[in-house]
Amino acid sequence: MSEKEWPLYEVFIRSKSGLSHRHAGSIHAADDQMALDAARDTYTRRNEGVSIWVVRSSQIVASDPAETAAFFEPAEDKIYRHPTFYDMPDGVENL
C-alpha cells in the first residue's frame, strides 16, 4: 500500500463526572480533532462517556514489563506503609 498510515491514538474515557478517565482502546486518525470524533463514534455509542482524552500512542512512555520486578521492587519491603502492620493495644478506639 502506497498510502501513509494514519497515526495511532489511545483513547481514555470518563464514564461520568466524579470518576477518572480510563483507557478504552485505540483508533487511527489523521489529526487530533478526527481522533476525538472517531473515539466518540467508536467507544461511546451507548452513552459510555462524558469526556474523552485522546493521545498519540507514540507519546506515551511506558514501563518495561521485562523490568517489572526490579522496577516495583522498592515498594516490596515496606509493609509498614500499611495500617495493618501495626498492632493496636486493646481498648484503644477510633484509631
Partner: protein, 330 residues
C-alpha cells in the same frame, strides 16, 4: 495499553525468536495456567502471537464484511424504526471491527497490513457472510442465528488469556445481545403476520440454519488448531461443544416462533439432555471457505471498491492534518 511498537520498534522478529528459551515458555504457560492475563508488551511465544494475530484479524475482517449482507437492506427496511435499528446495528459491526483491529495491532501487526491481507484475499473472514440476504426475513435470521452463534463463540473469548482481546470481546458481547434480540423481534413480527410473512420467516430459517451451525468450525475430529489454543486458554470450549450449546438454546426459540427446523434428524435425547442433529454438509463448508460460496466474489469486490473509493478521503485528511501541523509549528 493498546500501543504496539513500544517495545518492538527496535527489535526485529528474529531477535524475539532467538530469545525464546524453554524457561520463558514454561514461565509463560505457568502464567496462563494461573489464569493471569497476558498483556501486549509481555513476553509471549511467537506461535501464540501468530495464532492471536490470525484469529483476531480474521474476526475483525468478519465484522467488516458482515456489514454487507445487512447493508443491502437499509434502503428497503419495512419501517423507519426498523431502518434506524438496522443502521445502528451495522454501525456496531463497524465498531466491533475497529475494537478487534486495535487489539490485533497490540501484537505488532499494522492496520494497513491487515487490511491489505483482507483485500488481497490472503486473510479469511467468516464464511457465513458469503451467503446472500434474499428477503427481509433474512435480516431477522441473521440477527437471531448468525449473531446468536457468534455470541456463543464470543462469550468464552471474554476470558481469553490475552488481555486486549479479552477486553475487546467483553465490549462486543455487551453489544451483541441487542443484535440478536432485534433479529428475533423481526421474526416474531413476521411469524405473527400473514401466512406469506410466516412462510418468508420459515424460508429464511431453512437457508440460514445449516450455515449458522458451520460457523462453529469443523468438527473436533477435524479441527487442527484446537488443542494448542485450549492449552493457551485462547479457546475454552471445543467447536462441537459450542455448536451443541447453540442448538440446545435455539431449537426452543424456533418452537416459540412456530417454525420447523430444517433437519429431519433433529431429536431431543432424554438421556443426554441435548438435541441430536443431522450430518452437517462439510463439503459445502469447504467450498465456501475455498471461495466458491454464493457471494464470495461479490463481497470482496465490494470491499475493494469501497477501499479504493475512499482513498481520496484518506489522502485529503492526511494532507489537511499535515498542512495544519505545519501552520501550528510556524
Amino acid at each position: 495499553m493498546y500501543t504496539q511498537g513500544l517495545d518492538q520498534k527496535d527489535k526485529p522478529a528474529g531477535a524475539r525468536q532467538r530469545a525464546e528459551a524453554p524457561e520463558q515458555a514454561e514461565a509463560f504457560q505457568a502464567r496462563v495456567d494461573a489464569e493471569e492475563k497476558i498483556e501486549a508488551k509481555d513476553w509471549m511465544p511467537e506461535a501464540y502471537r501468530r495464532t492471536l494475530i490470525r484469529q483476531i484479524s480474521q474476526h475483525a475482517h468478519s465484522e467488516i464484511i458482515g456489514m454487507q449482507p445487512e447493508g443491502n437492506w437499509l434502503t428497503r427496511a419495512p419501517t423507519l424504526k426498523r431502518k434506524a435499528i438496522l443502521l445502528a446495528k451495522i454501525q456496531d459491526e463497524a465498531g466491533h471491527g475497529l475494537y478487534l483491529y486495535s487489539a490485533a495491532e497490540t501484537l505488532g501487526v499494522s492496520r494497513d497490513q491487515m487490511v491489505a491481507e483482507l483485500l488481497s484475499g490472503k486473510a479469511k473472514y467468516s464464511s457465513i457472510f458469503n451467503y446472500p440476504a434474499l428477503t427481509w426475513a433474512d435480516i431477522g435470521a441473521i440477527g437471531w442465528l448468525v449473531d446468536g452463534a457468534a455470541i456463543m463463540n464470543q462469550i468464552p473469548l471474554c476470558r481469553c488469556s490475552y488481555g486486549p482481546y479479552s477486553r475487546a470481546m467483553i465490549r462486543i458481547c455487551k453489544e451483541e445481545s441487542f443484535h440478536q434480540r432485534q433479529g428475533f423481534d423481526i421474526l416474531v413480527a413476521l411469524c405473527n403476520g400473514t401466512d406469506k410473512q410466516k412462510a418468508m420467516a420459515q424460508d429464511a430459517l431453512n437457508r440460514w440454519w445449516w450455515p449458522s451451525l458451520m460457523m462453529f468450525g469443523p468438527s473436533d475430529k477435524e479441527s487442527k488448531h484446537s488443542a494448542q489454543s485450549m492449552a493457551w486458554k485462547i479457546k475454552r470450549f471445543s467447536n462441537d461443544e459450542l455448536r451443541q450449546k447453540f442448538i440446545d438454546v435455539t431449537v426452543p426459540q424456533a418452537e416459540f416462533l412456530g417454525l420447523d427446523m430444517p433437519d429431519d434428524e433433529l431429536e431431543f435425547d432424554e438421556s443426554t439432555g441435548h438435541y441430536r442433529h443431522g450430518e452437517i454438509d462439510w463439503q459445502e463448508f469447504l467450498d465456501v471457505l475455498a471461495g466458491n460460496g454464493p457471494c464470495n466474489r461479490q463481497r470482496m469486490a465490494k470491499r475493494r471498491k469501497a477501499h479504493d473509493d475512499g482513498a481520496w478521503v484518506r489522502e485529503a485528511a492526511y494532507a489537511y492534518a499535515e498542512k495544519h501541523a505545519a501552520k501550528d509549528a510556524a
